[in-house]
């Protein structure tokens, strides 16, 4: 675990907790059970502890943006700090 959780404030978390509560109330019980089991397995897999930690070198990359233009991380950080956030997708 990488320390930053200590700096969490509660506002966003409250929104997300409310969202999750809404989801759990409306989803069929078997779906909730399966998703819960999958989440537990994921936590037990130790994946969070294997993410790149503070102080290590960032892997450079070049990826296409929404209009297909390539964006390179090292080109961004040459200008200033880069905040990168991975998300699963908007379905």
């Amino acid at each position: 675990m990488n320390g930053n959780e200590a700096t969490l404030t509660i506002e966003l978390q409250k929104d997300l907790d409310a969202l999750r509560q809404g989801y759990l109330e409306h989803a069929p019980p078997d779906v909730v059970a399966t998703m819960g089991k999958a989440a537990e397995e994921l936590i037990r897999s130790g994946i969070v502890e294997r993410t790149v930690p503070v102080g290590s070198p960032a892997p450079d990359f070049a990826l296409p943006n929404a209009v297909g233009r390539e964006v390179r991380l090292s080109a961004v950080t040459a200008r200033g700090p880069a905040v990168i956030t991975f998300y699963r997708g908007a379905w």
Partner: protein
């Protein structure tokens, strides 16, 4: 995604840039941008290659796949591959020396890093900038 959009002006004032990365194809990323009125780069990491290098990728099991499909979410279509792998939601800040300065990931997909933590780290980096 909208939570990060809200702090985008502050990120920029602190000299930072925001990049969002998902396994979706560029077409789907563009749809996400338009739907959410996002004003930052949304990058397409087809096959989760970059997410893998940050240690974030995991496969969805057969039961979970069936649930996704039941909700009409065919990841093979959205992501342009049939691996059924996803990245954990994770946020990192990388400084000019390409060093990781903030690292946050959570296996509980409903948890996210608070935007305030991002701004705190950017302030620390900015304050170092003037030092000899």
């Amino acid at each position: 995604m909208r939570a990060y959009q809200k702090i985008l002006p502050q990120i920029k004032r602190l000299g930072g840039e925001l990049l969002a990365i998902s396994p979706q194809t560029p077409d789907k990323s563009q749809a996400t941008l338009l739907k959410n009125f996002l004003e930052y780069e949304v990058l397409s990491d087809v096959g989760n290659r970059v997410a893998q290098s940050f240690g974030l990728v995991y496969p969805l099991g057969a039961e979970v796949r069936r649930i996704y499909l039941g909700f009409g979410v065919d990841l093979a279509e959205y992501n342009g591959d049939d691996s059924w792998e996803l990245p954990l939601p994770g946020t990192f800040i990388i400084d000019r020396t390409m060093t990781i300065r903030l690292s946050f990931a959570d296996a509980d997909y409903t948890r996210r890093l608070e935007p305030a933590a991002i701004l705190d780290t950017l302030r620390v980096i900015r304050d170092e900038g003037g030092a000899p």
